[in-house]
Symmetry: C2
Subunit: 421 residues, 2 copies
């Protein structure tokens, strides 16, 4: 493939075909008036092209307020393509091209970016995930099944010692993975340096005793050069993972971390709702997650089935599968990442999560689902592993629970959620 493609769901008062032409013009050689300099040769070389148009409906009212009005608003799916040469090998310029000014066009009363297709050369020029699922297991010292994890809560407020005390409880529960909350980066009451020192002492003691090093994802989100210093701090303390709030640091921010990181990059998507909440404006995670994988994220949050936020199970399913889907294209690197499932998760959601993916290459994060187990956090972690084992053996979790006490107690404690995938 030598062109960049992007698929959009659009609505327009002037018709989908006309709106698509305006989009292609605005995002490449066109302007509102055709210029003398826009020669045929220049257009041939650099103009965006409409590859496909499918009309999907129409409405008497615009989905979003728009300066331009019409008697009806036609909806459809359009595929636009650009010569790879327009963008070069730059992810930020790719973003400005496929998700730039076109969101503001008056010819559009709705526009969502649904998917992108990229030239192999552009994919290969990006670093991609350094570790992914296989590397994460390696960092865990060899590991089967889904990675069982949790998030430090309260999100903010604990100091370093308080965090370390909670980490002690969690490592004693034989958990695989613990992460800082996205809100806890380098606050005054819990500076990153203090937290790394206090938590590392707990992780070291536990590793000395058991031979297992729990993966702790320290939130290093900050300015670029500070993140680099944070990476040095992590390296000096044998840390294995860093949380990076991807939307807060931007694509070049993630790439800058990737370029100097010896640890797994755990991509937190705080702010994602801004892109996803409206059916009429935004970017689908199918498209969005590709960019962050290219920049170097190893783990990517995808929400969870029957979560406490607002995304439907169908959207969560699509997101989780997308993160594990290799890049298309002859000779393109796969650059798959590891989906992170979280939000209101208990033993009930392990098997449905595994079933939708068809493998164990995911991180399953539970908070109350571990801490509120009647047998304590240790039993909470065991129950989640048992649920994963049941799924692997394709045995209904309730049946498996008959011979597995911790799982049984979990299923009795936590309400069975309704999952619709």
């Amino acid at each position: 493939m030598t062109r960049i493609t992007a698929v959009y769901d659009i609505e327009s008062p002037s018709g989908v075909a006309h709106a698509a032409a305006v989009m292609a013009g605005e995002q490449s050689t066109g302007t509102f008036v055709r210029l003398a300099a826009e020669t045929d040769a220049l257009r041939e070389r650099s103009a965006a092209r409409i590859e496909a148009i499918e009309i999907t409906g129409e409405s008497p009212r615009p989905a979003l307020p728009s300066r331009r009005e019409g008697p009806r608003y036609e909806r459809g799916r359009v595929t636009v393509s650009w010569p790879a040469e327009n963008v070069g090998l730059s992810l930020p310029t790719l973003l400005s091209t496929v998700a730039g000014n076109l969101f503001e066009l008056a010819e559009l009363s709705a526009i969502r970016l649904l998917d992108i297709g990229l030239p192999t050369a552009l994919i290969a020029a990006c670093p991609g995930p350094q570790f992914g699922a296989a590397g994460t297991r390696r960092m865990l010292g060899g590991h089967d099944g889904p990675v069982i994890g949790t998030i430090i809560k309260p999100s903010v407020g604990l100091d370093a010692a308080g965090t370390a005390a909670l980490v002690q409880t969690l490592v004693d529960a034989d958990i695989d993975f613990i992460k800082d909350d996205e809100l806890q980066a380098n606050g005054t009451y819990c500076p990153l340096a203090d937290r790394v020192e206090a938590v590392t002492a707990v992780l070291d003691r536990h590793a000395d005793r058991t031979g297992r090093r729990v993966m702790y994802a320290f939130n290093i989100t900050d300015e670029i050069e500070q993140m680099w210093r944070n990476l040095e701090l992590l390296e000096a303390n044998n840390a294995t993972c860093a949380v990076v709030c991807i939307n807060a640091v931007g694509l070049p921010g993630v790439r800058a971390v990737r370029d100097r990181s010896s640890v797994v990059i755990h991509g937190h998507r705080a702010g994602w709702g801004l892109y996803s909440r409206s059916p009429d404006i935004g970017i689908s995670y199918v498209a969005w997650q590709k960019l962050w994988r290219l920049a170097g994220a190893d783990h990517l949050h995808v929400n969870g089935l029957a979560n406490k936020f607002t995304e439907s199970d169908a959207v969560v399913r699509e997101a989780a599968l997308a993160v594990q889907t290799p890049f298309a294209g002859d000779g393109a690197p796969a650059y798959t990442a590891m989906p992170v499932i979280s939000s209101g998760q208990t033993a009930w959601q392990v098997a449905p999560s595994r079933h939708l993916l068809g493998n164990d290459d995911f991180i399953f994060c539970a908070g109350g689902g571990i801490m509120s187990h009647p047998g304590g956090p240790g039993a909470g972690v065991i129950a989640l592993r048992q649920a994963a084992e049941a799924a692997r053996q394709d045995i209904a979790v309730e049946d498996f629970a008959r011979s597995h006490g911790e799982l049984k107690a979990a299923l009795e404690t936590f309400r069975k959620p309704s999952i619709v995938v």
Copy 2:
């Protein structure tokens, strides 16, 4: 001020007051179930607080699809505050705090961030604009009136020689400012290095002849270390300005440029429509532009009156004024930036732009408004300066045109737009 504040327009099936409490919880110490570790002392120190609630309406239907439903959806404006210590001095963590997970809450069927208020210590810890309007005038060798500018079009497709030829026409027209399009960064057919070399030769010759160095904003948008190399290239060529696509590089990206830049940072907001198009999800420019000023943007795009995109004149007005509004707070640096007015602009929009701001500290970018003047580009630039002079003298532009031929021709050539501010 020792707390961070954020004002939101929200809608909720469970009532505005309840939704505000959920937002404050999710974005600070709370989780879905109150934990033992969330002590009163911890809450006192770190919890977000609801400062104000104003009910503004209700609807039988949700504005956005939401997992949670209700018989009615209450709308209102809420102010939430956080202790400054939660965030420390980090802009990315500020962003995850005021515009993070809360966009995904099921308790909300609409949420827009309208404004933010910041502690003086946080503002002062950020670099802010290095040049702003005063520095831009200095770089222009001393300059009165609005800065008259244009954008290289076609956006992409011209090679370095083609760009330089167009620049020659523009500098001969005595323009102040020229910028690369946001889509033209380092594409294969027009690599930045070639473009800098070719354009610089034109700028140098013009400066040698006239003593005036036109400000050319080269689009340096790229990965962090490449942007730094690009800055070195600019510096070696006596360049005075760099375009940075702010949404594409992120806050730490702009900050990284600011930290090593000797040139004016021209912040292009490609992708802005994603934040602004929906009345029910997003971020207002009043809030958004503060972050980019803190990170170091000198110029910030604000669209134009009667523009070719979809924003209303009222929104453009608010944005332009916001960019020039100093940060509030005792001892806080003002950190004002220079609004960039563009999109479908002609001599008709100069006076209304100046009137809304009350000063000349803005960049007025016209494309066709200069190139399509019947007297040629030189007359096009003169006409825009005459329109600015008319506004400064508070003379109606049509009256002023009687004794100013270039302006008269411009007003006859370009359709008078309808402006509603």
